[in-house]
Amino acid sequence: MLESWGHTAWTANQAGNALAADNDQSVYAATRGAALITQDQELAAQRKRRTIDQTVLLRCEAPDVIEVLELHLANVVDILEHRPHVVIEVTRDRVRDFCAPWPG
């Protein structure tokens, strides 16, 4: 879906880091200038406390993630373009963004 909208996207498996810990994934994404898209609420909670990258948390059931993200993609992209360190929480109904008081 992301590629059909013109974005570059890849999975942890394609990066060979499926076994990596959550912190590794965040640092990997940050150094690549990529946003980490996840359904892991604990990871998002960690990043809210210390924002080091761009994390997009999809709060919905797994089979709905594409539909929910597509619904709000324009808004999510707009936030990502303006905030280098941010956690964006996306539900079917709304998009909220968070930034730790001391990012980095």
Binding site: W10, G16, L19, D24, T31, A62, P63
Partner: protein, 211 residues
């Protein structure tokens, strides 16, 4: 069919690098400290949390060093030789040169086909050459490999998905697949969405859901 690893995207933590190159984490740290193989990313994320990520080429470099060691070369000598080539303007000698060993001496073949090394080139018959293409293929295969022992098993890993149960050797939570099953999606549809999983994984998730 699992998605293939893309060389340019690879960025793996030190534990994964250790497993792929069959070199201990301690040695990799020491190679980092000594400047022999530097990680692509080295970042402190807080007290005691240091993130080192290695790119594909660095995994290949580790394997070349291991192959040279297996052929009797001492790590100090490897470091000395690679440093000499770096001083000659070759940025990544372990990758850019073709390495061979003969009678305890280490030789490097340059892009123009010439060899340099321990003895004068016309005195050496280099019979044991390290095949870097084979090393690259092996690294790629190890990155993609999910051990047979992992298939159809569940595990919890600290720092992964909040320590929730995931399919062993992956970071896919069992609960995620169970959400698909509750919606009535078929095994084929689930495996299409998660190409790194197997029918045994889906059966396991179904069994846990029923149980």
């Amino acid at each position: 069919m699992p998605l293939q690893v893309v060389d340019d995207l690879v960025g793996v933590p030190i534990a994964t690098a250790s497993s792929i190159a069959a070199i201990s984490v301690r040695r990799l740290r020491s190679w980092h400290d000594e400047g022999l193989v530097l990680p692509a990313v080295d970042r402190m994320l807080g007290p005691g949390t240091r993130i080192r990520l290695y790119a594909f080429d660095q995994l290949v470099e580790m394997c070349v060093i291991r192959e040279l060691e297996d052929r009797g070369q001492d790590i100090r000598h490897i470091r000395f030789v690679t440093a000499r080539h770096e001083n000659d303007g070759i940025a990544r000698p372990l990758l850019e040169l073709r390495w061979g060993v003969d009678g305890g001496h280490m030789y490097a073949q340059h892009s123009d086909g010439t060899w340099t090394g321990g003895r004068r080139h016309n005195q050496a018959v280099i019979t044991d050459v390290i095949d870097i293409d084979l090393i690259r293929a092996t690294v790629r295969s190890r990155l993609e490999e999910r051990g047979k022992e992992s298939v159809g098993r569940v595990e919890r890993r600290r720092g992964v998905q909040g320590s929730r149960p995931v399919f062993a050797g992956t970071r896919t939570p069992v609960a995620t697949v169970q959400q698909y099953l509750r919606r009535g999606l078929s095994q084929a549809e689930i495996l299409e969405a998660f190409p790194h999983l197997t029918a045994a994984d889906v059966d396991l998730a179904r069994g846990l859901l029923a149980g």
